[in-house]
Symmetry: C2
Subunit: 360 residues, 2 copies
């Protein structure tokens, strides 16, 4: 069994290498950190010796003198939400391309947790990407004063932001529903602290205005499947034929919740989500949704952060806007498919109660 309490082998330092290569420690240091600053032959010799001795540069020590940890924090609202998986991938890839390490922080949809975690981590990282932050604008600005910060999925004045084209996404969804004959759309709201939630609703208001489609809102609900199921309950009290959900998880919850109450999707109700998570393609019927370039989001935000860390000013003018697209599946359909039929949309047929899951 390995004994970690007292490693017998002392660490090899630049001083050891310096002695062995018969140069000064500074030369060893430069041979690695600024090779151009030292004669190439000398550098080569130093490298050879270092190799032979098994020298590994200590990032910690480097950190202390350069005040760069080469780490960035990536804060996400909820690791359980699959949207973040691709964002994380994009961010990690960009970070690792720049030789940075990513510290992932899961805020668990809590303002407080998020703030505490960021406070705790801030001094250890060179910069922060806030993906779907639930913190207040002022809190974010405060952090942005102390460290480079890039905000994802949210627009805040004076802080660099990367967002997706929510207005256009909503517009596409509304157009799509409009073409299918829907003249009322119900927005099922997500967390109030979520910036996309706000802009999606506002965009819907606007699009409804232009396209002469009536809109209303219910919620807020938790941005999860369970939240969608709760929304389904409420929706039963105030029926609708077309629903735009804050995100795919809620949309899936709606599909399930309504399905259990005998509502036919898309026959009775058309549902559109946001994010295009994997499950949107798994649920029955497949979910029509506004897809965002998740990987690109994480990657763009992180790359921008890295340039800021390297000293660039940080583009705080207009946020960077990433394009979206509407993925049409089978949760949306023409209103009243059989026009002659006078059946009200919410008549309950085949009320299949959700079969209890048998646990072993």
């Amino acid at each position: 069994m390995p004994d970690h309490t007292r490693p017998p082998d002392k660490r090899v330092t630049i001083y050891d290498v310096a002695v062995e290569a018969d140069v000064s420690p500074s030369t060893v240091s430069r041979a690695f950190s600024r090779p151009s600053r030292v004669n190439s032959e000398t550098a080569e010799r130093v490298r050879q010796v270092a190799e032979r001795l098994g020298y590994r540069t200590s990032p910690l020590a480097r950190t202390l003198s350069t005040a760069r940890t080469h780490m960035i924090a990536l804060v996400i609202a909820d690791i359980t939400n699959p949207v973040y998986a691709e964002i994380v991938r994009g961010a990690q890839e960009a970070a690792s391309d720049g030789a940075y390490t990513t510290v992932l922080i899961d805020a668990q949809e809590s303002d407080r947790r998020e703030r505490e975690a960021v406070e705790r981590t801030m001094s250890t990282v060179d910069g922060i990407v806030l993906a779907s932050s639930r913190m207040s604008d002022s809190a974010i600005r405060m952090f942005a004063k102390q460290r480079p910060v890039v905000v994802l999925n949210r627009a805040i004045a004076d802080v660099p932001c990367v967002v997706t084209d929510n207005p256009r996404g909503v517009r596409r969804a509304v157009e799509h529903l409009g073409e299918l004959g829907h003249d009322h759309i119900t927005y099922v709201a997500g967390p109030e602290a979520s910036w996309p939630n706000g802009i999606r609703w506002r965009s819907l208001l606007e699009a409804g205005m232009e396209l002469e489609i009536k809109v209303r809102q219910i919620g807020p609900f938790s941005p999860t499947i369970a939240g969608g199921e709760r929304a389904a309950e409420e929706l039963c009290a105030r029926p609708a034929t077309a629903v735009l959900a804050f995100n795919d998880q809620m949309a899936i919850g709606l599909i399930r919740g309504l399905g259990q109450r005998g509502v036919d999707i898309p026959g009775d109700v058309s549902i559109v989500g946001f994010d295009n998570i994997v499950a949107a393609d798994i649920v029955t019927p497949g979910l029509t949704t506004v897809a965002a370039p998740l990987y690109a989001e994480g990657s763009a935000a992180t790359r921008h952060l890295l340039t800021m860390i390297e000293g660039a000013p940080g583009h705080t003018g207009r946020p960077m806007v990433l394009p979206v697209r509407l993925v049409v599946r089978h949760s949306t359909a023409a209103r009243n498919p059989s026009p002659g039929r006078a059946r009200p949309p919410w008549v309950r047929r085949r009320p299949t109660p959700h079969p209890a899951t048998r646990l072993w």
Copy 2:
């Protein structure tokens, strides 16, 4: 716009506090790191001054002298796989309880990436949790010699391990299928480098032996939905009535792939997965699966790692085994539901080709 290039306010150090409080820097240091070592009045005064000056202890500097970064690495095979979300949560919670920060590393199912990432990160962290590592035993042992390591979902001699009770899980699944009248089970294999894949197959062999159920294996396939869809193709060439898939993602791929080919689940084929990911409850039919206590896995592994970091020897005897349970949903059913009917199970009816997803 904040200027991060040259913060005008220099950092407050113990030296600043020392001058102001009229004590030596060591006293300031001790006032924070070993309060018992200093007079309580002095400590209080120091703390007041520190507060007034806005002193914050620098974790980086502390790190250099104590050789403790208070960070641990958590390596997962694929962040896209939802199983890891709960594991990450458990690990993060445990880490943060111990005042440790977690660095998440996504190996993207690649042995090489994983090894490189661990090598890169190793010197910066106090310990490592390898969740579902794809590296070789010897590579893992090598890392374990240099840093405390806990392995999750895998058993390796001389390295502390946390695993779930795969044999029992398989056994339950086989019993369940057996009770439904199945006498053949096909195992759809996942990555060969995956330890659970191996043990699940061996457990299946054994359970089959005892319960007089014939077993066979196809694969390996990628442990993803796409992998499951490919497996469905191959399965068509060699039909089966009961399938045990390496994990839920593959099982879902199977359900979809077979569904597209007109195979009825569970009428023609019963399918059981592993992990009980959220999507298992979303897919139609709901997936019967072997559920593991994911949160507890991450938490237990991390807690054990922390004790090792604090100097405990690291329990390398038998791996810690966590219980599993079978969650029965609707992807499993009795074989030949209408016994009188002589129709071969693989007759294709209602061949619903997967409708092409329209992209906008």
